[in-house]
C-alpha cells in the first residue's frame, strides 16, 4: 500500500470546536485513481490537505511509502512535498508573471536541477498535456482549461509518487472538464500515476477506479 491512513483526526479549536475529520481509516494502492466525494463541508478537501502535507492533522497517522508523515520536520516536509507530491488546485494557481514553461520548471528549479535539464523536462511535460504550442504564453493569454493543464504539467514534472487534485474541474466548462479528466485517466493508465482527486461531480466517478464518500468528517462508504 502506498498510503495508509490510521485514525486521522482534524479538529479546529475554538469556542465550539469543529470536528472536520473524525477517525478516518483507509488505504490507497499504488497506481490507483481515487475520487474523494461528498457534499460541501463533508471534509473531503480537508482530508486531501492532510494527506498532501499542506496541513497538520490533530491526531492519527498517515504513512506514505513506509514513511510516517507525522514524524517529519518542517524542512523535511518541504522536501517531501517537492520530491514526492504533486498538486492541482481548484483555481489554477499559476503565478501570473510566469509563462507556461516557467511555471512548469519552477519545481525543478527549486530542486536544483540544471537549467538545460529543467527546460527539457518542462517542455516534454507540456507536450504530454497537449500544450506544445503554448510554452511561452502567460496565464492571462490561455483559456481556463489550458491553464489547468499547465498546472497538471507542473504537478507532474517532478515525477511525484502521488498526484493530489482539489476539485480540478470546478471552474471549467463541461468540455474543458472532460479534457482534464481524460488526461488524468490517461496519465493513470499510461504511467501508473497514483491520483487522489476531490470532486463534487457525481458524473466524474466513471473516470476513477474507486470513490470514497465522505459525510460530516467520516467515511460514509467506499
Amino acid at each position: 500500500m502506498i498510503i495508509e491512513v490510521k485514525n486521522l483526526k482534524k479538529t479546529y479549536e475554538g469556542a465550539v470546536p469543529t470536528y472536520a475529520l473524525k477517525k478516518i481509516n483507509f488505504g490507497v494502492e499504488k497506481g490507483e485513481f481515487i475520487a474523494l466525494m461528498g457534499r460541501s463541508g463533508s471534509g473531503k478537501s480537508t482530508l486531501l490537505h492532510q494527506l498532501g502535507l499542506l496541513d497538520t492533522p490533530t491526531a492519527g497517522e498517515v504513512i506514505m511509502n513506509g514513511i510516517n508523515l507525522m514524524s517529519l520536520t518542517e524542512k523535511q516536509k518541504s522536501k517531501f512535498r517537492l520530491e514526492k507530491l504533486g498538486y492541482v488546485f481548484q483555481s489554477y494557481a499559476l503565478l501570473p508573471e510566469l509563462t507556461a514553461l516557467e511555471s512548469v520548471y519552477l519545481p525543478l528549479m527549486l530542486s536544483n536541477v540544471s537549467k538545460k535539464i529543467y527546460i527539457k523536462k518542462a517542455t516534454e511535460m507540456l507536450k504530454k498535456v497537449g500544450l506544445a504550442e503554448r510554452l511561452h504564453h502567460l496565464p492571462k493569454e490561455m483559456s481556463g482549461g489550458e491553464q489547468q493543464r499547465v498546472a497538471i504539467a507542473r504537478a507532474l514534472v517532478n515525477n511525484p509518487m502521488i498526484l493530489f487534485a482539489d476539485e480540478p474541474t470546478a471552474n471549467l466548462d463541461t468540455e474543458s472538464s472532460k479534457v482534464i479528466l481524460k488526461l488524468f485517466r490517461e496519465l493513470n493508465k499510461e504511467i501508473g500515476q497514483t491520483i487522489i482527486m476531490v470532486t463534487h461531480e457525481p458524473d466524474d466517478k466513471k473516470y476513477v477506479d474507486r470513490v470514497i464518500w465522505l459525510k460530516d468528517g467520516a467515511i460514509e462508504k467506499e
Partner: protein, 412 residues
C-alpha cells in the same frame, strides 16, 4: 534555487508591476541622489572657496577686530560689529614692523544705492587706503586709483568696479563724471579691471572710496573692519604674525593676562577655519540626506509588507510546490534588495548628472568650480541602498516565509 535564478525571478516580478516598483524605489532614488549631490556640490563649493582664498596669496595676514578662538571664526565673520580696531593700529604696524610688512591696506565696508542721474544701482562701497592696489594685487582699467594725499584729505573721489560701470553707464566712459552715494557727490577718477568673484564677494560689484571719506561721510564711524598686510617674506609668516600681535597688544594697552581684542591670522590659518566650517556644513547636509534614505527604507518595508499580504496565495502555492522557508524568505529579501539596488543605481546616475549640471552652470557663471565626484560617495550610495534593502526587507521576508501553506492558499 541559486542566486541568479532568484535575482532573475525577482526582476521579472518587479518589472511586472512597474509603477509600484518605481514608487517604492523613489525614496531610495531621492536619498542616494541627494547624498551624491550634497557630497559633490559640497566638495565643489569647498574647493571653490579654498582655491579663491589660496589665489589671494599665502603672504597675506589679516587683522580683524574682536577676539576669537585659535581655530574659530572671528566675530566680524558672524556679523557682529566690533569697534576695537582703529586707523592708528594700521599705521602703528606699518611703522614698527617695517621689516616684516611690505604693504598694508585698511578697510571699512557698507552697502548703499549709488546714483548717476536717473540710473541707480545697489552696491558695496569699500573705504580703503591707497595701498589697496598693491595689497590686493590688482590694477585699474581706466583712469587711476586714489592717492595717499586724497586719502588723508578725505577727498570725495571714487573708483568703480566694472559691473557698477556697466550698470550705471553702459558703454560710456565714466571717468570725470559725478555720482552720488548717500547724497554725497563723488568724482569718478578711475575704473577697476574685472576680477570676478572671490571668496563670498563679487569683486566687480563694488566702488572704492578713500578710507577716511567712507568713515566720516558715509558711515559715521571711527573704527575699521579689516587690516590686510602683505608680508616681506612668506616663509616667516608665524614670526611676522607674532610681531603684529605684539605691536597691537602694546598699542591697545593689554596686560599680560588680557585676551587679545583683535584676531590676527595668516591666510593658511584662515583656510583652516573656513575648511572646518564648510566641513561641518557638508556633514550636516549629508546627515539630512541620510534621513531621506532611512525614510525611503521604511517606505520599502511598508510596501514589501503589503506585498507579502497581496501575494499570500503565491507564497502558499510556492510552499505547496515544495519551496523551503529559506527559499521564500530569500525571494522576498532579494526582491527588496533588487528594488533598493536598482533605485540606488538610478539615484547615483541622476545624482552625478545633477552634480555635472551644477558644475557646468557654476563654470558658466565664471566660478572656478571643480567637479568632484568621489568614488567613496558612489560606494556609499550603493552600499547604503543595498544595506537598507537587506535591513528593511528582513521583516517582510520572515513574515512571508512563516505562512502556513494551506492557509496562504485559501487566502482571498
Amino acid at each position: 534555487m541559486d542566486f541568479f535564478e532568484n535575482f532573475f525571478s525577482a526582476w521579472k516580478i518587479l518589472s511586472a508591476s512597474k509603477l509600484r516598483s518605481f514608487l517604492t524605489m523613489l525614496g531610495i532614488i531621492i536619498g542616494v541622489m541627494s547624498v551624491i549631490i550634497v557630497m559633490s556640490v559640497g566638495a565643489g563649493a569647498q574647493s571653490l572657496i579654498l582655491n579663491q582664498l589660496k589665489s589671494m596669496g599665502s603672504d597675506l595676514v589679516a587683522v580683524m577686530p574682536g577676539a576669537s578662538e585659535d581655530d574659530g571664526p572671528p566675530p566680524s565673520m558672524m556679523g557682529i560689529v566690533m569697534t576695537s580696531l582703529k586707523y592708528e593700529d594700521g599705521e602703528e604696524i606699518l611703522k614698527q614692523a617695517g621689516d616684516h610688512v611690505s604693504e598694508l591696506a585698511m578697510y571699512v565696508n557698507g552697502n548703499d544705492i549709488v546714483t548717476y542721474g536717473a540710473n541707480k544701482t545697489s552696491t558695496n562701497f569699500v573705504g580703503t587706503t591707497a595701498s589697496y592696489i598693491e595689497v590686493e594685487n590688482t590694477t585699474v582699467k581706466t583712469g587711476r586709483f586714489f592717492t595717499e594725499d586724497e586719502e588723508r584729505s578725505s577727498a570725495k573721489v571714487v573708483v568703480l568696479g566694472s559691473e557698477v560701470v556697466d550698470n550705471l553707464f553702459g558703454d560710456q566712459d565714466p571717468v570725470g563724471r559725478r555720482i552720488k552715494i548717500k547724497k554725497v557727490s563723488f568724482t569718478i577718477i578711475g575704473t577697476m579691471k574685472e576680477r570676478g568673484i572671490s571668496g563670498f564677494q563679487n569683486q566687480d560689484d563694488q566702488v572704492f572710496v578713500p578710507l577716511k571719506t567712507a568713515q566720516k561721510l558715509l558711515l559715521g564711524i571711527d573704527h575699521i573692519s579689516l587690516i590686510r598686510a602683505k608680508l616681506v617674506s612668506p616663509d616667516n609668516v608665524d614670526k611676522s604674525l607674532e610681531r603684529i600681535k605684539e605691536i597691537l597688544r602694546d598699542k591697545h594697552d593689554l596686560d599680560r593676562g588680557d585676551k587679545n581684542d583683535f584676531t590676527a591670522r595668516s591666510m593658511s590659518q584662515g583656510l583652516d577655519v573656513i575648511s572646518s566650517i564648510t566641513d561641518a556644513l557638508k556633514f550636516f547636509l549629508v546627515a539630512i540626506s541620510a534621513i531621506a534614505l532611512v525614510v525611503g527604507g521604511f517606505g520599502i518595508m511598508n510596501i514589501m509588507l503589503a506585498n507579502v499580504q497581496e501575494r499570500t496565495r503565491e507564497i502558499g502555492l510556492r510552499k505547496a510546490l515544495g519551496a523551503k522557508t529559506k527559499d521564500i524568505s530569500n525571494q522576498f529579501l532579494i526582491e527588496s534588495v533588487v528594488i533598493t539596488f536598482v533605485g540606488g543605481i538610478i539615484g547615483i546616475i541622476i545624482g552625478i548628472l545633477i552634480s555635472v549640471l551644477v558644475a557646468k552652470i557654476a563654470q558658466g557663471l565664471g566660478y572656478k568650480w571643480d567637479l568632484v565626484i568621489t568614488f567613496s560617495s558612489i560606494l556609499l550610495g550603493c552600499g547604503v541602498s543595498i544595506g537598507i534593502g537587506l535591513i528593511f526587507g528582513i521583516i517582510p521576508a520572515r513574515r512571508a516565509s512563516k505562512l502556513n501553506p494551506i492557509e496562504a492558499l485559501r487566502y482571498e
